[in-house]
């Protein structure tokens, strides 16, 4: 068989440049591995969520109401297509934690049916048992909160209800499909088990404590198979509207569900984008390597054709190289991806616990990964193989095709180049001679830089947005919030405390903004014009002062409601001023991040209304001027002068004339804790959020994601290293004879090495010039994808990141020169100068 000897040649050729083929195998493997690991994780998480939702029967939609009689539930059951309807009472309380000396923990109580288990939003019991049916003081505790504080069934927990402490026994630890990602509601980007926990109690127990017997404030609906949910939602809304109903919330818009979905969607994009980068570079590399190989073996090919090998045999022979590389890279990457996928999934599950896992090997993903790698590599290798098959024997056999020299156009337009020595101009000539190699070197640099900028850009943007928020916007150290509106003297009293540098009055109230047929619930901060502890900027970065008249709306709200500075917007009280459950659709809340990080602002429920529900009848509806649009990286809040807020809300809410319900405080650092403790000692103070704790919490969250970013950095270095290594070595091998000749003329090894390195440096410079803007642009696009109700990140790349990218790639390239330089050292002048091919 003729092909058997060709196979021998194949093996010898592979051995000839094992590192170069190995490098490409590595690139392919990393690409496949990234894809398999990331996409499997994506599918595993997605199906785990789906399994959990369906096994625990997540309600198809829910409606929050002020208070509705239980009888209305049977009316709802009549809606065509509706399967299950359950009413619950949800109440927000405070919990006492032994470890939290001064800070308080927010708890949410959700009622359970008096008998048995709920049919919708079922709980997965991890340990213990359901609470007994009588009036036993027992509850079920959500697992991530329980885990954080180390609670076990049988432990007791103190709940603060209307200044009374009530001791409960923990009957069981559970997971809930509504709280896989334990956030208070929409607009809260991050879970924090330290400061927020969810509990379930028998309805009778809840009623006993809150006097809610016979009524519910949350309605959960499950559809029957084939039922039309949209119609059902509309009808339910209508039926419940007399009871102060909020907009129905479909299951996919439920806070936890939505955040997990957004997170997954971002994840999926990365799972596709990064492998594509690696495949592109692998494709360019194999194309080049085989292209050069065919070129250097043209006389052999001519000979083989002349002695009778068919075109097909030759074509297949060269194609086999890429098949081998594709298969090797694909399989290695597939296997590595499989294991890393499992590892990453496990890592992910320690951050978010899912009731039911559905982690299976994703053979389909592995197959897609391997097949696409193979396809990419074989197609790229097919071009050189085809050109080998097409060689005309008579031409090919005539040794090497002369290298055609040309004066590059650049040199004609840059006459100053004449001043340089020819030796130093030689790299430019070569750089422009082999366009394919040049392009692939540049592409390698661009990809590496892009990879670094995109991944680190995400991190930087996150850091910068938070930093902007915490250092530019917020200049206070503590924000104290009152349960009920106070007179401004309360603030003046604090201002005189020892260690307090400055105190400023704040009046925070919920509002619903209406414009262009759309509405958004938002908190309005009333601040004193000229105050300094909370500063605002416009989207273009210009400072903007608190206007005496009008409302300042955040950019995202302005976009949503189509508002412009100078325009008008209707401000009303939200239908349900009390966010009974924060997942009750778009309840914009006080600084979500602050709260997520565990420090509470005034809870609207407690501060504004106390336990009175009289507000329901109050009317407030007035057009106000939009005085400015502001940029806020985290959360969405509107601002106005405190006088304006008092004017708008004073009468409807019956506020005292100089009402405040929060105080921003700047403190001398050493008095921070004293002041904090003192605030908690004050009557009527609900919370005191300390900015320093937020900072620490954010630091912790960011460092958790550093594994991902460091891995990306490592991969980009691999990318740059392989392509530069291959190009340099190929370059040196091809030009052995030229280099040897220069050496015999008296050019030193160092100059010759510099000559080759200079070419890489040129590719590097061009690559950086293209890669930095491209990478920055792409990073911006990726950051934009994460824009949501609670995040308005600005794409930021820190100078340090640019330096890491620029110097990291440079260092990688310089190291990748070593094998080439070593080769130059080893060239045997006697052989190289006499060889002709």
């Amino acid at each position: 068989m003729v092909t058997s000897k060709l196979n021998l040649k194949l093996i010898r050729d592979l051995r000839f440049s094992p590192l170069m083929f190995g490098g490409i195998v590595l690139l392919v493997a990393v690409g496949v591995m990234l894809f398999v690991a990331a996409y499997s994780l994506y599918l595993n998480l997605q199906s785990s969520y789906a399994t959990s939702y369906s096994r625990l029967n997540l309600a198809d939609f829910s409606v929050q109401v002020q208070s509705a009689p239980q009888e209305v539930l049977s009316t709802l059951r009549q809606i065509p297509g509706v399967g299950e309807v359950e009413g619950r009472t949800i109440e927000e309380v405070e919990m006492e934690q032994p470890e939290m000396i001064s800070r308080k923990v927010e708890g949410r109580i959700i009622s359970l049916p008096d008998i048995g288990e709920p049919k919708l939003n079922q709980l997965k019991l991890l340990s213990g048992a359901y609470p007994r049916q009588d009036s036993a003081r027992e509850l079920l505790l959500e697992s991530s909160f329980a885990g954080y504080y180390g609670y076990r069934p049988g432990d007791s927990l103190n709940i603060v209800i209307l200044d009374d402490k009530v001791k409960f026994r923990i009957a069981g630890i559970v997971q809930s499909p509504e709280y896989i990602y334990v956030v208070r509601g929409r607009g809260y980007p991050l879970p924090n088990p330290r400061t927020f926990g969810v509990m379930w109690m028998r309805k009778g127990m809840v009623d006993e404590m809150f006097g809610t017997s016979g009524s519910v404030n949350d309605v959960e609906v499950g559809m029957a198979p084939g039922g039309n949910r949209r119609t059902a939602m509309r009808l339910a809304s209508k039926i419940l509207s007399p009871y102060g109903a909020d907009e129905p919330v479909a299951s996919e818009n439920q806070a936890s569900v939505e955040l997990l979905r957004l997170d997954l969607a971002g994840h999926r994009r990365l799972a596709i984008f990064f492998p594509i980068l690696f495949f592109t570079i692998s494709s360019l590399s194999i194309y080049n390597l085989l292209g050069r190989m065919v070129y250097s073996q043209r006389s052999q090919i001519g000979f083989m054709r002349a002695v009778g090998f068919s075109r097909l045999a030759i074509g297949v022979h060269y194609l086999e190289f890429s098949i081998l590389v594709g298969v090797a890279g694909g399989v290695i990457g597939g296997v590595a991806g499989y294991y890393i996928g499992i590892w990453v999934t496990k890592l992910g599950t320690t951050l978010v616990q899912i009731p039911y896992y559905n982690i299976t090997p994703r053979w389909g993903v592995i197959a897609v990964g391997i097949i696409s790698a193979l396809l990419v590599i074989v197609v790229s290798g097919a071009f050189p193989a085809l050109s080998a098959a097409r060689l005309v024997p008579a031409q090919a056999i005539r040794a090497e095709a002369p290298i055609v020299g040309r004066v590059p156009i650049i040199e004609r337009y840059l006459p100053f180049l004449d001043k340089f020595t020819l030796l130093s101009r030689l790299p430019l000539r070569n750089f422009l001679r082999n366009i394919r190699r040049t392009v692939s070197m540049i592409a390698g640099v661009v990809s590496a830089v892009t990879l670094m900028l995109v991944s680190y850009g995400l991190l930087d943007s996150m850091k910068a947005s938070i930093d902007f928020y915490l250092t530019y916007s917020i200049h206070y150290d503590i924000l104290a919030a009152y349960l009920h509106p106070q007179d401004q003297v309360a603030m003046e009293r604090i201002e005189r405390w020892k260690g307090v540098i400055r105190a400023e009055p704040v009046l925070v109230l919920p509002a619903k903004l209406v414009h262009a047929g759309r509405s958004q619930n938002i908190l309005v901060y009333g601040l004193r014009p000229g105050d300094r502890l909370m500063l605002l900027v416009e989207p273009d970065g210009r400072k903007v002062d608190i206007a005496k008249v009008g409302l300042m709306v955040p950019e995202l709200t302005a976009k949503k409601l189509k508002l412009r500075s100078g325009g008008r917007v209707r401000i009303t009280l939200p239908k349900q001023t009390i966010p009974e459950t924060p997942d009750a659709g778009a309840t914009q809340t006080l600084n979500p991040l602050l709260r997520a990080a565990g420090i509470h602002g005034p809870s609207p429920r407690q501060s504004i209304l106390g336990s009175s529900r009289a507000l329901l009848e109050t009317k407030m509806d007035r057009p106000v001027q939009v005085s400015a649009v502001t940029y806020q990286p985290v959360g969405s809040t509107a601002y106005a002068s405190i006088e304006q807020v008092r004017l708008w809300y004073g009468r409807p809410l019956d506020l005292p004339p100089k009402a405040i319900n929060a105080v921003a405080i700047k403190v001398e650092p050493k008095y921070l804790q004293t002041v904090e403790r003192k605030l908690y000692g004050l009557d009527g103070v609900a919370s005191a959020e300390v900015v320093r704790y937020i900072r620490e919490e954010i630091q912790r969250l960011l460092s958790q994601s550093s594994v991902f970013f460091n891995a990306m950095l490592a991969f980009s270095i691999v990318l740059a290293a392989v392509i530069m290594f291959n190009s340099t070595l190929m370059n040196v091998i091809e030009r052995t004879r030229e280099i040897a000749t220069l050496r015999t003329m008296g050019v030193s090894v160092r100059s010759a090495s510099l000559l080759i390195t200079a070419e890489s440096i040129m590719a590097y410079v061009v690559g950086i010039m293209a890669g930095v803007p491209f990478g920055s642009w792409l990073a911006g696009r990726f950051v934009g994808l994460y824009e949501s109700e609670s995040f308005n990140m600005q794409a930021v790349i820190f100078p340090g990141t640019y330096w890491i990218a620029i110097l990291g790639v440079l260092a990688t390239i310089l190291i990748a020169q070593l094998p080439g330089i070593l080769y130059i050292r080893k060239i045997e002048l006697t052989k190289a100068t006499k060889d002709i091919g």
Binding site: L426, N430, T741, R743, G746, S748, V749, T833
Partner: protein, 240 residues
């Protein structure tokens, strides 16, 4: 025809030898050899294929190192030089001319010569050099646009431009036709005769030896004879 008689010793080989070890067998490429190259010498090395001619040339040129014996250039032992010193030696003292020209393909004729001129402090003028080898009108051509003979003349210009003391030419006419070969020989010959540069030229071609001042015959890695040529011919009188 008159010429300055050879005088001072430029290169001196003392039992210089080169052998290759292939597995257990030791292949002598050049057996211990002793002879001298004088200033202004025109030496032609003759011998059958595989007799060690190229090996001899490479050893003298400092691109190969002897496995035994010594090679002195102006009484400095090449064997004692490190890589940097050998590089300096090749740069300032030696000019190579290869059978396959080995021009840098991305540089024009003129640039190929200039490239080498840049290596030394006071080279000859590159353009004059090309003029003198008859290529004054093809300065800006790239190697791929020149004939073999023209390329070889560029290669010679390149070797000469840095004013070497020794030219080592390995079958410079091997790839050339008769006419072109003669032109190339003439240039080399004139260098030795008029500029006092020593020329050591390897060839298969016996008639060429008639232009030499001295002729070396080699066989099986040995110099079998080294004889003065009493009546060196002018290259234009050579016939083959």
């Amino acid at each position: 025809m008159e010429h300055t008689p050879p005088n001072e010793t430029l290169v001196r080989l003392e039992g210089a030898a080169k052998s290759y070890t292939m597995g257990k067998i030791v292949v002598p490429a050049l057996k211990p050899t002793t002879f001298s190259v004088l200033q202004g010498d025109l030496l032609v090395v003759l011998g059958p294929s595989g007799s060690g001619k190229t090996t001899l040339l490479n050893l003298i040129g400092g691109i190969d190192t002897p496995t035994d014996g010594h090679i002195f250039f102006k009484e400095k032992d090449l064997a004692c030089m490190n890589d940097a010193e050998l590089t300096q030696y090749r740069r300032y003292s030696v000019g190579f001319v290869f059978q396959f020209f080995n021009l840098v393909p991305t540089l024009t004729a003129l640039e190929n010569v200039q490239l080498v001129a840049e290596l030394v402090p006071n080279p000859l003028n590159a353009q004059d050099m090309l003029d003198s080898v008859g290529l004054g009108d093809k300065l800006n051509r790239f190697p791929s646009e020149l004939s073999g003979g023209e390329q070889q003349r560029v290669a010679i210009a390149r070797a000469l431009v840095k004013r070497p003391e020794l030219i080592l030419a390995d079958e410079p006419t091997g790839n050339l036709d008769f006419e072109t070969g003669i032109r190339v020989l003439k240039i080399l010959h004139d260098q030795a005769v008029t500029s006092g540069i020593a020329v050591l030229m390897v060839t298969h071609n016996t008639p060429i030896a008639s232009i030499a001042h001295r002729i070396i015959h080699m066989r099986s890695g040995e110099i079998v004879s080294l004889a003065a040529n009493p009546n060196p011919l002018d290259p234009e009188e050579v016939q083959w």
